[in-house]
């Protein structure tokens, strides 16, 4: 682990709505915030070759992923005027309908929070070494491919 302050990002299992509510609550003391933008990734029951996805099993190259998250985070703070920025990603098996990604940005005015949130989601999907294995109802699987 490097000397840089690496935040806790990975969560074992799904991200619960109450975890999201807690994260929102914590910002009520930051009275210079005017806008929050939140992105949530939810596991879909895609149909691939006639088989229905029932869950995604996420694994990561932990050490590199944390470095990447840190780098992306710093870059967002440089590009946008943000008060706060939080990222959480699930590891392990997440069933359809559950949430596996939670990106949360806050700023005085809405433009910064909104644009930073999209910027973060795009970079996370493209650059962070995380892999999703789509598990079908018969327990067979296929490695997930993100859309560009």
């Amino acid at each position: 682990m490097s000397e840089k302050k690496i935040k806790k990002i990975f969560i074992e299992g799904a991200i619960s709505p109450s975890f999201i509510a807690d994260a929102i609550s914590k910002h009520s003391t930051k009275k210079d915030i005017g806008a929050h933008s939140i992105f949530l990734g939810q596991v879909r029951n895609d149909v691939i070759n006639d088989k229905v996805v029932k869950a995604i099993d996420y694994t990561a190259y932990h050490e590199m992923a944390l470095e990447k998250f840190h780098e992306i985070r710093e870059s967002a703070f440089e590009k946008y005027s943000l008060t706060c920025l939080h990222i959480y990603h699930s590891l392990g098996r997440i069933v359809t309908g559950e949430i596996s990604l939670f990106v949360f940005t806050s700023s005085m005015h809405r433009k910064d929070a909104t644009e930073a949130c999209s910027y973060l989601v795009n970079r996370i999907k493209e650059e962070v070494p995380i892999w999703g294995k789509e598990i079908f109802e018969d327990e067979s699987y296929i490695w997930k491919q993100n859309r560009p």
């Binding site: 694994t59 999907k125 493209e126 995380i130 491919q145 993100n146």
Partner: protein
């Protein structure tokens, strides 16, 4: 001269293990060729190589004790 190989995602499936060491490979291009000879399915796969957490698309010298990760396309989120 020894390097540690970490394999992720579908590459761990293809190779059949996710962590092992190999000897006497000195550059990333050489490593690619070595692996693709052993596991021909890798030839049809786009994957990046990270050496001590740093990804480079160019040929890269490997030093003794380096950690070399084989990274298929990411699919987080």
């Amino acid at each position: 001269m020894e390097i540690k190989i970490l394999a992720f995602g579908i590459i761990a499936n293809i190779i059949g293990k996710s962590e092992y060491t190999i000897e006497n490979i000195y550059q990333t291009d050489e490593l690619r060729k070595y692996l693709e000879d052993l596991y021909p399915r890798l030839k049809n796969l786009k994957y990046a190589i990270a050496v001590n957490l740093v990804v480079s698309s160019e040929n890269f010298d490997l030093t003794n004790g380096a950690t070399v990760a084989l990274l298929p396309p990411f699919s987080g989120g």
